[in-house]
Subunit: 145 residues, 2 copies
DNA sequence: ATATTATAGACTCTTAATATCTATAATTCA
DNA sequence: TGAATTATAGATATTAAGAGTCTATAATAT
């Protein structure tokens, strides 16, 4: 059980957009360079974020992606759900009623995780992460203090 | 992101063994019938549980699988780890140091989930689940109260 | 008009999960 | 001892999902 790479890219992209701020849009080309990922692939991820209502896109010259007004209240969970969907970690096809402990316990555990992910908003995060994205590409040595 | 079916089978099998109790071993054939899964596949899962030290196996006639002495303290997390391994939900290859919020937040969320899964032991569960496995196969209508 | 940028769909590639098959080892029992 | 029973292990096949590419189309600015 792992988070997909798409989620990884989405989290990093949103955090980066938060640090940059919503003033000028950034093209997918630039973002793809930053994270060393194919532009067409990243564009699919960004489109999901657009559809989830947390990013705005603009075609044409000087176009690109920028955060929407409400960006500060977007949580990690929002981003993860936008990419992975909201399906539960555990879904059995049967229904053994309230007697069923298995499903109940796993779902409670998942709920605890989600509560934490929901409490982490981009607004708070951006303040703490301004130093993270200083260089050109994301490399392994630039952030080590 | 989903738990694997193997984990699903493992949780159900362990819960079933808990309800039955460790007195007489059960063959994989019987368990596979119960959960409507191929015996050879289930046997691989059971072997993992044996190696994790939570189940005992015996070859030969009247052999099979039974819980070990300490079974009451085995947690959901133990079972999940036995099947899925203990790797983190999120592993980036880079290391941007303490500045990195992404990894830290996701790992904290995972820790909350694990804390809950660790708190649920088979001993407690077995008491509450005795009615669940009454019939032959697990079907969708037998448990609905 | 042309260049630029996002969007969408079809498509391929890769990997992991799922499942099967067969052979072997351990144990019981007659 | 020998046959039946049961777990273990390895090789292999099948399926499904994730990751990534390619190309065509739509929207926008200059
Ligand atoms: S015990 Fe719960 S999780 Fe398992 S099959 Fe029944 S309803 Fe599903
Ligand atoms: S910001 Fe954190 S999670 Fe992202 S690449 Fe750097 S160390 Fe990894």
């Amino acid at each position: 059980m792992k988070y997909s790479k798409a989620t990884d890219y989405a989290l990093h992209t949103m955090l980066f957009l938060s640090v940059v701020g919503p003033d000028k849009p950034l093209g997918v080309q630039l973002l793809a360079d930053k994270f060393q990922v194919s532009p067409t692939y990243l564009s699919k991820i960004l489109t999901k974020l657009v559809k989830a209502g947390m990013v705005e896109s603009a075609s044409g010259a000087n176009g690109g992606y920028r955060l929407k007004r409400n960006w500060e209240s977007v949580s990690f969970l929002d981003i993860i759900h936008a990419i992975e969907g909201t399906a539960s970690l555990f879904d059995c096809s049967l229904d053994h009623g309230p007697e069923c402990q298995v499903q109940q316990i796993v779902l409670e555990a998942e709920a605890k995780m989600e509560t934490h992910l929901r409490s982490q908003t981009l607004g708070e995060l951006a303040k703490r992460s301004s130093l993270l994205f200083k260089g050109g590409q994301m490399s392994s040595d630039e952030g080590t203090v």
